[in-house]
């Protein structure tokens, strides 16, 4: 147990190092981005006293200090959530990023809540009935979903919904949005915290089509990974040995074989989760939702470097966190990793 704790600690400290690396890279990016950062920070002034203003901002930002002090200050600022000001929206980058993150996570987490169990079920069924019609259907579907472009599926779904005269727009009805207190930024959670079932149901209903779309890729990925890994795991020596000890096949799969699938699954999901955060941008856009992807696209169009870098740093951190969680799951499940 102590050992397990030690390895988790080790993994987390490694992640912190990676995040520090990301921060340093972000800082370098700020500097290779076009334009003097002080100039952008004070809002690209042009008046007669602009030069003075820029000089003042340079001093404020510490640009006149040696590089390592700048870096130290940047890291300090980063951890106190002072990520600079968005050029386009004039607001602190951290505020915009956190807001977008909450909206995106609402969508992605829900998508995974649906995609994971279904994907695992599909994958298990397919690998146990290999080459059957069901397997071929599941696998074919999964391959199709995993490889077809998301915006295309999104467009088709929207068309379909419009044909059914269902128009979905935004994350929650405006009347609900303004009548509940915001705690987390996720309307689904906030409505529950407010004890408002009506708002909750509205938010969930509105979330259903985009969540369905967002879950297609993780579902397909999960199915394929589970099918593949399980098939591989089923051929391992220990499965036959357990059967030889008289244990039933179903029991062996449930209790032993699936444990071998989880670490692989966790690893892949760790990556695909972070990927989804950006990938759902199309879906968010189509359904008029907020989110990191949508904000990022606006920031890119406006050459808003502080915001672009802030959002990317946030996604990178999310990526590291997701992978770290996956690794920890791996460590907990697979005792061999601990040695």
């Amino acid at each position: 147990m102590v050992k397990l704790f030690y390895y988790i600690l080790k993994r987390i400290s490694l992640s912190i190092l990676v995040i520090l690396g990301i921060i340093v890279v972000s800082y370098v990016l700020v500097y290779i981005a076009p334009g003097n950062p002080a100039y952008t920070w004070v809002g690209k002034p042009t008046g007669p006293k602009a030069a003075e203003a820029i000089k003042l901002a340079e001093k404020d930002l510490g640009l006149d200090k040696p590089f390592y002090i700048q870096l130290y200050n940047f890291i300090k600022r980063f951890f106190s959530f002072d990520w600079g000001i968005s050029i386009r929206f004039k607001q602190p980058v951290s505020v915009i990023a956190m807001r977008s993150l909450a909206a995106t996570l609402e969508l992605v987490v829900l998508a995974y809540i649906i995609a994971l169990p279904l994907g695992i079920l599909g994958g298990v069924y397919a690998s146990l009935h290999r080459n059957s019609i069901a397997d071929k259907t599941i696998y074919g579907l999964a391959s199709l979903l995993a490889s077809s472009p998301r915006f295309w599926i999104a467009a088709i779904t929207i068309l379909l919904l419009q044909m059914l005269n269902i128009n979905i727009f935004g994350r929650v009805g405006t009347s609900y949005a303004i009548s509940i207190n915001v705690y987390t930024g996720s309307y689904i959670i906030d409505s529950l915290l407010n004890g408002r079932m009506d708002a909750f149901i509205d938010a969930v209903l509105r979330a259903m089509p985009p969540v369905f779309l967002a879950s297609l890729y993780p579902f397909a990925l999960t199915t394929r990974i589970v099918r593949h890994t399980l098939s591989e795991e089923l051929h391992k020596e220990y499965v036959r040995q357990l059967l030889s000890y008289g244990l039933r096949g179903r029991h062996v799969i449930r209790r032993y074989v699936l444990r071998g699938v989880i670490p692989v699954l966790a690893q892949i999901q760790g990556i695909s989760f972070a990927y989804s955060v950006i990938d759902v941008a199309t879906i968010e856009n189509v359904f008029g939702r907020e989110g990191i992807g949508v904000t990022l696209s606006k920031a890119i169009l406006a050459n808003d470097y502080p915001l672009i870098i802030g959002l990317l740093a946030m996604v990178s951190i999310l990526f590291v966190v997701a992978i770290t969680i996956a690794d920890i799951i791996h460590i907990v499940i697979d005792p061999r990793v601990r040695v």
Binding site: K10, S13, L14, L17
Partner: protein, 311 residues
């Protein structure tokens, strides 16, 4: 004496390092602990030990694949490591036959190219290389036409002969054999062993062979060293080891090869590794590893014999 000596290993210590991010919290696993031995020309030395005893690591150190943190290796009197760097021209005097013939060859290359590769790199002409390959194929008793085949067309035994041929083509002074028969069938194994023995007797090669099978090692070796947890606990002429083993662990090995032992050794990390099951174990055995003691032409590391000789 110096002239006859082809390799001398002096007080060799090798460790693997495991660390966090490559620099934090280094943990050192010492796998070879003060091993010394020497091999003369036309002599074959067998290293025997269980998995994890350090025998493969010693081979790696001899091949320049891991750097020892203490000790020296001399090949024909020349240091293999000079100022911590491997001397390549010394390394060229060594040939190597790997354990698994299948995974050690590139499946896309023809046998001709596999065997001739060291010469092709040197820039020799195609005709010379071809001649040389045919010569070594003759040595390992393979058909010339094999040169135009691909690895998957050959059996395990034939591939192992190819591996031997590849080692021979550079005309090494010393051949290192890493369990050369453990992946082969019994019949093929005996053929390869016979071939190796033949080559040694006809051309005067020196071998260092690593195996966990005492039968195999004793068949081919003049002298045998027994490794236990990184220590060379006994070393002597094959006859001594097989017929009059001194160290209790060697006795276990010898007896088990005759299907006599039931005890799996339990190792201790402090003192003599075998002390938990040793019939002669005393307090000192639980604390300190004994120094080497010469006895009856063998060298043994055991407190019992140290006392015995001093008495």
């Amino acid at each position: 004496m110096e002239g006859r000596e082809i390799v001398r290993v002096e007080d060799l210590w090798v460790s693997y390092e495991e660390s966090l991010f490559g620099f934090l919290g280094k943990t050192k696993h010492v796998v070879v602990k003060g091993v010394s031995f020497s091999v003369n020309r036309n002599e074959s030395f067998g290293l025997i030990g269980a998995s994890g005893s350090g025998k493969t690591t010693i081979l790696k150190a001899l091949l320049g694949l891991v750097k020892p943190f203490r000790g020296e290796i001399y090949i024909e009197g020349e240091k293999l490591y000079y100022d911590g760097k491997i001397k390549v021209d010394v390394l060229r005097k060594i040939g190597f036959v790997p354990q698994d013939p299948f995974s050690s060859v590139d499946p896309r290359m023809k046998i001709m190219d596999i065997i001739g590769e060291p010469l092709i790199i040197k820039g020799l002409s195609k005709r010379v290389v071809q001649q040389a390959v045919e010569n070594v194929l003759e040595l390992v008793r393979l058909d010339k036409q094999i040169a135009n085949k691909y690895p998957h067309q050959l059996s395990g035994g034939m591939l192992q002969r190819v591996a031997i041929a590849r080692a021979l083509i550079t005309k090494p002074r010393l051949m290192l054999l890493d369990e050369p028969t453990s992946h082969l069938d019994v019949v093929t194994q005996s053929e390869i062993l016979a071939l190796l023995k033949d080559l040694k007797e006809m051309f005067g090669y020196s071998y260092i062979m690593v195996s966990h099978d005492l039968n195999v090692v004793s068949y081919i070796s003049n002298r045998i060293g027994v490794l236990l947890n990184g220590y060379l606990i006994e070393e002597g002429p094959t006859k001594n080891i097989v017929e009059k083993p001194l160290h209790p662990y060697t006795k276990i090995l010898v007896e088990s090869s005759k299907f006599k032992s039931v005890a799996e050794p339990m190792y201790s990390t402090i003192g003599c590794p075998i002390n938990p099951i040793c019939p002669w174990a005393r307090d000192i055995c639980k604390k300190h590893m004994p120094p080497p003691t010469a006895l009856n032409g063998s060298i043994v590391r055991c407190w019992y014999y140290l006392d015995y000789t001093q008495r």
